[in-house]
């Protein structure tokens, strides 16, 4: 299977050089744990957040209707996009209607999902990413590797080279200088831009308010400077009430970066009012389905609770070792291994649900209590048939062996004798399915004495 091979290839390349990712994710995990400890009862807040989201999803038609009516009441315009293609068309049409040639973008994973930039560039709209990380991804023709910190995989040398190439600035590896260069470069863009595109973290049904969270101010700039603001949001982003927001805001930044709140939490209710001195004259909210509604009444509905905090990426031992690119999808990490196959089709992404050790670290950190490992297992079951015959046979044999103590004992004696070619403490190769297994998994040499033997001889009380 070609997707399998491609996946294994990406992983092998990635494992070699993801030290930067490893360190950065550890740091974020510590910051997250520390800031969650500051809350009186973080677990109860997570429960609450999960319940509010689940309720909203289960009653989505009602809340969508209310949200749409409120956005329109506040002077905004609502568009519905059934899929990525429709969303791209709608946004390109808005750009064309205003003759816009220069667009700025705040950081938005949903816009990555629909590959918006290419579509806008194709119709002659220069589209500039303004989140520092996304800007560097764009000028270096790279792809983001983390949903919160897109250039977690890059070191400052690579960033410096990209910056010099794109802006013509003098070469510097100093983070502060690099940021200042980007600020100056993008300020000029912000003066001239005609269209601003942002994502939405939460949409409030009762008031039609859009909540956009950023640290740098890219979301504010992109929704303030241009004459037209387009907000792209998945239909699952709704919460019923304004007073639901603190429940999520207290968890979102903590889970992402360990901050108590993002620097800018922007609440947008309609376009600029007549007597406001600045702000966009038009607000277009594009509500994107793109496979989400298919999940609503099914066994995977809870993935739609996701608030894209990125905590499961940072916690995942697989992500930490292979980085985001190896997943080959817009949404990497544990949640990406669910969202990508579920939204874009299991056939092209059959390997993703298997890119997990099911250790459960993602479930522990998820602020909306998505049972990621449980759902991954259920998703794996759906791709059982597409697994290679040898593997299926081997798994059946494994199951048969594990079901009986006698067979287990027997296997324990035989297996070490079947495992050839042992160098530096690891087995490689082996006949048939065993060889396939050890090709992509580390298998250590079993200790001289089995646990069963130790138990019998020394540990058991009945001795």
């Amino acid at each position: 299977m070609s997707t399998r091979k491609a996946f294994r290839q990406r992983v092998c390349e990635a494992v070699a050089d993801e030290r930067a990712v490893h360190l950065a994710t550890w740091h974020k995990m510590e910051a997250r744990a520390e800031s969650m400890r500051q809350l009186r009862d973080p677990e109860a807040i997570c429960e609450l957040a999960a319940r509010i989201k689940q309720h909203t999803l289960e009653n989505l038609p009602r809340y969508l209707e209310q949200f749409v009516a409120q956005v329109e009441r506040s002077g905004g315009c609502v568009h519905f996009a059934a899929d990525a293609d429709a969303a791209r068309r709608i946004i390109c049409d808005i750009a064309a209607a205003h003759g816009a040639k220069l667009a700025v973008k705040g950081k938005s994973m949903t816009s990555e999902e629909i590959h918006l930039n290419d579509a806008l560039e194709a119709v002659g709209v220069r589209t500039v990413e303004t989140d520092l990380g996304e800007f560097i991804v764009q000028i270096d023709h790279d792809r983001p590797s983390h949903i919160v910190t897109p250039i977690i995989h890059k070191d400052r040398r690579q960033i410096a080279q990209a910056m010099t190439r794109a802006t013509g600035c003098a070469y510097t590896e100093d983070a502060e200088e690099l940021t200042a260069i980007a600020r100056r470069y993008l300020r000029d863009i912000f003066r001239r831009c005609e269209l601003g595109i942002t994502g939405v973290n939460f949409g409030v049904a009762e008031s039609g308010t859009l909540c956009v969270c950023t640290n740098e101010g890219n979301g504010r700039m992109s929704s303030t400077r241009p004459r037209v603001h387009v907000a792209l949001m998945g239909i699952e982003k709704l919460v019923p009430r304004l007073r639901d927001l603190p429940v999520f805001l207290k968890l979102l930044a903590r889970s992402s970066t360990g901050q108590p709140l993002t620097v800018y939490t922007t609440l947008i209710t309609g376009p600029k009012r007549a007597d406001d001195p600045d702000g966009p004259e038009e607000l277009h909210v594009v509500l994107l389905d793109n496979g989400r509604s298919e999940l609503l009444a099914g066994e995977f509905a809870e993935v739609l609770r996701c608030i894209r905090c990125g905590a499961c990426l940072n916690a995942c031992p697989v992500y930490r070792n292979i980085g985001g690119h190896a997943y080959g999808s817009v949404y990497p990490g544990p949640i990406g291994s669910l969202v990508t196959p579920l939204l874009q089709g299991l056939d092209e992404h059959a390997e993703l649900p298997r890119a997990s050790s099911l250790c459960g670290a993602c479930r522990v950190v998820c602020p909306v209590k998505i049972d990621i490992p449980g759902l991954l297992v259920r998703l794996r079951a759906r791709t059982r048939r597409s697994q290679p015959l040898l593997k299926r046979v081997a798994m059946r044999a494994w199951k048969w062996m594990m079901k009986s103590p006698t067979r287990y004992r027997w296997a324990q004696w035989w297996l070490p004798r079947l495992l050839p070619d042992c160098r530096d403490g690891w087995f490689r190769g082996g006949p048939g399915p065993l060889g396939a297994w050890t090709r992509s998994r580390d298998l250590p040499i079993p200790p001289k004495q089995s646990f069963r033997k130790l138990w019998r001889e020394r540990l058991s009380d009945e001795r």
């Binding site: 303030t224 007073r243 108590p260």
Partner: protein, 241 residues
């Protein structure tokens, strides 16, 4: 349930004048409702949020809580009084060698209706160049902005800057230095309090920014850098009676 039955009739009544964009939305919602018809919602909407979510209560020493939280996210907090708050502002501006200053104090703020004019006069006397004009070029070229706030949240050290008549969004965003004047009477204990207040308001401003620190990034190798798109320094002058 009532809302469920009423609203579709509503939207059907409006259908003839709907632009194509809106029609697609309505059709989708109707189809979704049809699909979820037999699906029974199990999760009820939690009503009692506050006792779980609230971190700070009104009895706490709010100015101290606010100052501690604000300082930890990188805001620079200065104490002021009704008589010396303008001196404090002038000192901050002098320290940064700011010259052109956008002044934008809400007439509804506890500082009083004429605060903008008073501060303007004072800054002119001190040799600064204050302006209330918020044209693009002014905001892009100003050295600093002084604004009022609608509220401040003690829990997180957050200042709240809404848009409104004479309140430009760009003031707290474009100049490299932002000085916010906060009255201790404007402090609310917790985010819950602020959002309850908002929910009770008749109409919301088009834009509200909850600001918790100077503009910052850690995108380059996790190194913290301030002043990405927004101000690099955010000062809070906390005025107690």
């Amino acid at each position: 349930m009532n809302a469920d039955q009423n609203q579709p009739r509503d939207s059907r009544a409006r259908t003839p004048e709907l632009p194509p964009a809106r029609a697609a939305m309505t059709a989708f919602i109707d189809a979704l409702r049809q699909r979820l018809r037999d699906f029974e919602s199990r999760a009820s909407l939690p009503q009692e949020l506050e006792q779980t979510v609230r971190q700070v209560v009104a009895d706490d020493d709010l100015p101290t809580r606010f100052t501690r939280a604000a300082t930890s996210v990188g805001l620079e907090v200065h104490a002021g009084s009704p008589t010396d708050w303008m001196d404090v502002i002038a000192d901050i501006l002098r320290k940064h060698e700011a010259h052109s200053v956008v002044v934008q104090l809400d007439t509804d703020s506890p500082l009083g209706e004429h605060a903008t004019a008073e501060l303007g006069n004072r800054l002119t006397t001190d040799g600064f160049e204050p302006t209330t004009v918020v044209a693009d070029e002014t905001l892009f070229s100003a050295d600093a902005a002084v604004t009022s706030v609608a509220a401040a949240i003690a829990e997180t050290g957050t200042i709240v800057c809404p848009s409104g008549p004479d309140l430009a969004r760009g003031a707290s965003l474009l100049p490299p230095i932002h000085v916010a004047v906060v009255q201790t009477s404007q402090l609310v204990p917790d985010q819950c309090d602020y959002f309850d207040q908002l929910a009770g308001q008749a109409g919301l401003p088009a834009n509200i920014n909850l600001i918790t620190g100077p503009s910052k990034t850690a995108d380059i190798e996790g190194i913290l850098v301030t002043g990405v798109h927004g101000p690099r320094h955010v000062h809070v002058v906390l005025v107690s009676p």
